[in-house]
Subunit: 514 residues, 2 copies
């Protein structure tokens, strides 16, 4: 007798069971589970007043804060789906994601107001709602605080198959795709992590990465499932993170560049014993960083995850963290991680594409059945990343998808940047690669060939960067331009041979800082 998995609302469950336990800390404010439960109910009833119904989507273009921590739960209680948008996206990029997801509402804050309003302008069906708490000239009827609460019945039991969030992720094709992450995906992700790290009622998990990324959002949901405290900071600040750890944060999720800055800021002082896990994602970390962390009593545990798997897929166990530097750990229970042979590979090759099967694998890409079918074959998600799995089941991630650049924890897909450059009238061809960078892990570098008619003045890196800025999020803009005169290396069918681009960049052309 297989029963459909249903999940009583996590916050409501904890609101009754441990009403006085601190659920959320944002800056100097904190909410108990009972208080957070009330906040969520209130927000959900306002959403209903704004017309949100079951099956709708609600987009949020918000920096970390109370609303960004409340809305995911409130949207779920309306039976709707959250679409968290990256606040660093350009208007052009935002407009595309809004057109694709067609949300009923778009939430903006004081810093994203103009960007959101402009991006939503061309879609008549999207209502922009502001959480700006200042008295501004902005239209007050769209200020969330002033919306009345509708007298509606909210959902307090959620279907496992309900899509909790659609999170956009780019890919080799350039256009972002919305990964549909279900209630069940978040549940299994949380449980898999709990069975690896354990869970303790005194845990406090710090989210210093954006909540619009899966890495941040999954902390919120996990904390609700475990009944522990989520501590949310707005933007990464190494001093604030270290201070929160000294005040009792037990787990913090970071990427390598953040950890590096934390260690430098701390200047060699040991971390307190209450810090039981520094969960380090975002790609392989330098061994020297891991060693320095050890020497400062920061219990770093490496993990490998992606949006399409609702964050962590493989994570080291606390027991192995010290002895397995470089490994990303074993598949979180009950997921499976395998290596698929590369085309042309022989069974003797141990490295290949990392594929993942299990209940954390997304339901698919929103509105893109073909892309979904290409990504998930027979339940196995093709990650595009390259790795190997040793005899004990430990995954080693050797390389992210051939074309993926990870800079300061953000993913940049070259195809998007190349498209923006190619749209410039003086550019005949452009290729984009990641170059190792001490501070950011990688930095974005463009290799460009000017159009035949273009004159030498077009070798103007700042002007090209500015062209990109109108079209791309800031972190995607090339930090360097290298100009070449020969055509870029391509396959017979005209695709860039990315593997050779790096040689081209090194061999030819002069560097120009953007």
């Amino acid at each position: 007798m297989t029963q459909k998995a249903v999940f009583p609302d996590w916050i409501a469950h904890r609101g009754r069971g441990m009403p006085g336990h601190i659920a959320l800390v944002v800056g100097r404010s904190e909410w108990t589970f009972a208080e957070l439960d009330d906040e969520i109910t209130s927000a959900a009833k306002k959403l209903a007043t704004l017309g949100v119904q079951a099956g709708d989507r609600v987009a949020v273009l918000l920096h970390n804060g109370c609303e960004m921590a409340v809305l995911p739960h409130a949207v779920l209680r309306c039976g709707a789906t959250l679409v968290p948008l990256n606040v660093r996206l350009s208007e052009h990029e935002l407009a595309w994601q809004l057109g694709d997801s067609k949300p009923r509402l778009l939430f903006v804050d004081e810093r994203t107001y103009d960007q959101g309003v402009n991006a939503a302008r061309e879609y008549s069906g999207i209502r922009v709602v502001s959480i700006d708490r200042r008295d501004t000239e902005h239209d007050s009827e769209n200020t969330f605080d002033r919306v009345a609460e509708a007298d509606v019945e909210l959902r307090l039991v959620h279907d496992g198959d309900a899509v909790l969030a659609i999170i956009y992720t780019s890919g080799t094709t350039g256009r972002p795709k919305g990964a549909m992450l279900t209630v069940s995906n978040f549940w299994w992700s949380a449980i898999g992590s709990a069975l690896n790290l354990g869970t303790r009622s005194e845990d406090k998990w710090l989210a210093c990465m954006p909540l619009f990324h899966v890495g941040g959002l999954s902390i919120l949901i996990r904390a609700a499932i475990y009944g522990i405290t989520a501590v949310v900071q707005d933007g990464f600040d190494e001093t604030a993170v270290n201070a929160a750890i000294d005040k009792g944060v037990t787990i913090v999720s970071v990427v390598a560049v953040m950890l590096e800055r934390m260690l430098v800021q701390r200047g060699g002082d040991l971390y307190p014993a209450t810090l039981r896990c520094v969960l380090l994602g975002g790609g392989p970390a330098p061994v020297s960083l891991l060693e320095r962390s050890s020497s400062m009593s920061a219990p770093v545990i490496q993990t490998y995850g992606l949006t399409e798997t609702c964050s962590q897929v493989a994570t080291l166990s606390p027991q192995d963290a010290a002895s397995r530097h470089g490994a990303a750990g074993r598949a979180l229970y009950p997921n499976e991680v395998r290596i698929a042979l590369q085309p042309g590979g022989t069974p003797g090759d141990r490295a290949g594409e990392i594929v993942v099967r299990g209940p954390v694998v997304m339901a698919g890409y929103f509105g893109q059945p073909d892309a979904t079918a290409r990504a998930i074959e027979d339940g196995w998600l093709r990650t595009g990343d390259i790795g190997l799995v040793d005899g004990q089941g430990y995954l080693y991630v050797l390389d992210r998808r051939e074309d993926l650049i990870v800079t300061g924890g953000e993913n940049v897909y070259p195809a998007e940047v190349e498209d923006a450059l190619f749209s410039h009238p003086s550019i005949a061809e452009a290729g984009v690669i990641g170059i190792i960078d001490e501070k950011w892990g990688q930095r974005v570098v463009a290799i460009a060939r000017l159009a035949d008619g273009a004159d030498e003045a077009a070798h103007d890196a700042p002007a090209l960067a500015s062209w990109c800025r109108a079209r791309l999020a800031g972190y995607k803009i090339p930090a360097e331009f290298r100009f070449v005169t020969d055509p870029l290396p391509r396959t017979a069918s005209g695709k860039l041979r990315r593997g050779e681009l790096r040689d081209v960049a090194n061999a030819q052309g002069g560097d120009r800082k953007a």
Copy 2:
């Protein structure tokens, strides 16, 4: 996209992930997860040699020990179902359960050998396998140690719907029914408990209750799922339990009579801080016991569970344990506990039958679709127990099923005892009730009316007890007999009015100790 839930083998997962962690302690012996994994593989291959195939049942009539801890996992790896039998059952009772479950094998130990062999005699399809490690006259080819390992492929991924165990539980009808507990039932039971109590890699969970009960078996499975140590003791001994706690056991599952004996043996000494949970099941506990436990730093957490829900249904949270004496806690996530009105009850009545819905509810009674349909309506399991749920969702268990007697943690259903008495030629009528007993919680008391022709000599309590002993497990045998001359109170349809039996026992007849 709902996917069928599949579960990679828990011990195999931990055997690779934390090979050196202690998985099992039995007496002075201990096994790491890697060693336990090997033991289980070896046992499963022996089972295959003995003819066990997917879909088979394997009965075990074993006291707590290494084999009883290994076989549940080994049977699962064969795709078969474990049938744990109560070692205290009479041959007559055993024979009935064997006939109902039709296992391919019956495991016996040196203490259950005769009992098992005799009970299995009438079933030609059952092979008796001994784990007796002594050199005895018993046929050696059936000694499990000497069986060769078959070269077969074992199952290392289990279907959530696979029946892991069939555990017999009696009921109002007298005949025991086999509750089918699936892999998924055990999984959700373990996760629900983890989300309530937390889970820590240093946890050691002591099973001092029989592993053939769901309360014991679920400790084994839970420890495998969490990757923690299961400590198994053979039979309850308060000195051994207290010693294990002093050696670092962090959680222990007990019933009230055990806890009482532990406190007395300890003589007032505080329990160490490493003991983080004394999980107390088996019915409402006296407040004085809870208070004495508190004063000795024993962190008692009450729970309510039954075989049909794979152990815990509702459990207090550690936060509430001190302030909610008397409550059995809230439903373990994501299960629901409600109160169904009694027939004739009004909506103003708060007490009623406790009903349970969720993924811990058994798949049904083995081979009894009608009994299953009566027990589970629309996903809701009727427990037969009486309770109320307060405004905060806390369950208070007021009374176990009207006719259930709980003595020393064992359940006795009066109908079974009455049947045994009624089969005696001198007995015209018999009714059985539970009387409050300081040591055992309740004791079994029989009210009997002799047949017309029977003479005074038939008022022979020891002879009647001996009659019962041939038919019933020792703990079911009445501790007292009270003889009456008037007919017992019955309904128009002839059913005993159990509610009035107690008055009859008190008003009439003399007590005779058995």
